[in-house]
């Protein structure tokens, strides 16, 4: 289905790009004031950051990527105007085991429910399996993130772990799920 000529970082409506230290911090700072996005994206307590803080966090991130060598980070951009709409990463890679974790998110509600997630996750999986040659991919998802669960299932992931009541949000306990996809399963799907 894919060949060397098929672009890795170009999708139908979206593309992966590098971080833009000048323009991106302001946009990401806006996302971080949206508690719904933050609670879907991260297990850390939601807490907004200023554009200056976001800019610093990019520098920290890039230093970590260089030192640890177990992480790949992409910004997700709209094809038509290259504006920042989300972020995607493969991280915590264990090279000896061929195992990595994915995370992705779209900052603004206007960019959700448009099929961008399906395109971005598809591109991320192709990158993980046929560029990094990983054997399997995992994703950690809170029970309350129904959109993410639907997306991972759609791309063929299987629910593998359910950590009972591992999260406490909005005054109640929620399970923390892990979804997994093996390279074989992905290849069969990609051929079909």
């Amino acid at each position: 289905m894919f060949d060397i000529q098929t672009q890795l970082f170009e999708g139908k409506d979206i593309r992966f790009g590098p971080i833009d230290h000048e323009k991106d911090p302001e946009i990401e700072s806006k996302w971080m004031h949206d508690s719904e996005f933050m609670r879907m994206y991260s297990l850390e307590p939601a807490r907004p950051m200023s554009a200056a803080m976001v800019k610093k966090s990019y520098e920290k991130l890039e230093k970590e990527i260089e030192e640890e060598k177990n992480m790949f980070y992409f910004t997700i951009r709209a094809r038509d105007d290259d504006r920042l709409i989300g972020k995607a990463q493969v991280n915590r890679i264990e090279w000896s085991n061929g195992h990595g974790w994915v995370e992705l998110g779209f900052g603004s509600a206007d960019d959700r429910r448009k099929g961008f997630g399906t395109q971005a996750l598809g591109m991320l999986l192709r990158f993980a399996f046929s560029e990094l040659n990983l054997h399997r991919i995992s994703a950690r998802v809170p029970e309350y993130n129904e959109a993410a669960i639907a997306l991972f299932r759609k791309l063929g992931f299987m629910e593998e772990v359910r950590r009972r009541q591992a999260l406490d949000r909005d005054g109640r306990r929620w399970d923390l799920l892990t979804f997994g996809l093996l390279k074989d399963e992905w290849s069969k799907q990609a051929e079909a």
Partner: protein, 187 residues
């Protein structure tokens, strides 16, 4: 108030950077031990470097990492280590890790005793809501021991490990505070 650091067979002690690092550097040379402890590639690290890591952990401003050495009640030597990593304070969940580098203390209940101590610490001192662990498919002795302590199976990351040319699953197990309280009451 109870002495929360003393069990039936073992005692939790401070993990001294120097003593701990020397022990780790020695234990890591036992690759079977290391492969039970960590999923990454086995490696040999100097005690100097390990010492720095232990010190950094201990000096963290908002502590997420609680590490202890384990001693047998009958002796003075450090026989193992047990630690809690609170990856999510708001969810009050932590990962527990346990390793006994001294092989004389394998399969005799010392590990389970130290695990009971760290669970008491997790649930009655840190007031966590649950404790999680990872164990590898090729370590059935540990799996049985965790089941006996009261951990429940919560799933498996299929083929997460590649060792000796074979793929192995990584298992997740967990215990809730209520489950631990109930089992203590029954005993």
């Amino acid at each position: 108030m109870k002495d929360i650091y003393t069990g039936e067979l073992t005692r939790l002690i401070v993990l001294e950077a120097k003593e701990g690092a020397k022990a780790f550097a020695r234990w890591d040379r036992d690759s079977e031990f290391k492969r039970y402890l960590d999923s990454g590639a086995a490696n040999l690290i100097s005690s100097n470097k390990i010492e720095k890591e232990i010190e950094e952990d201990a000096n963290e401003n908002s502590p997420r990492s609680y590490s202890f050495g384990v001693r047998a009640l009958t002796g003075d030597a450090m026989i193992g280590v047990v630690d809690l990593f609170v990856y999510n304070w708001t969810g009050r969940d932590a990962f527990v890790g346990i390793g006994f580098g001294e092989r004389d203390y394998w399969g005799k209940g010392y590990g389970a005793d130290a695990m009971n101590l760290i669970l008491r610490y997790a649930f009655t001192e840190l007031n966590l809501r649950r404790v999680t662990l990872n164990v590898f498919e090729y370590n059935p002795r540990a799996i049985r021991s965790y089941e006996k302590v009261g951990f429940r199976h919560e799933g498996r990351i299929r083929q997460a490990l590649n060792k000796e040319g074979k793929r192995w699953d990584m298992l997740f197990m967990g215990i809730l505070r209520e489950e631990w309280m109930t089992s203590r009451f029954q005993n």
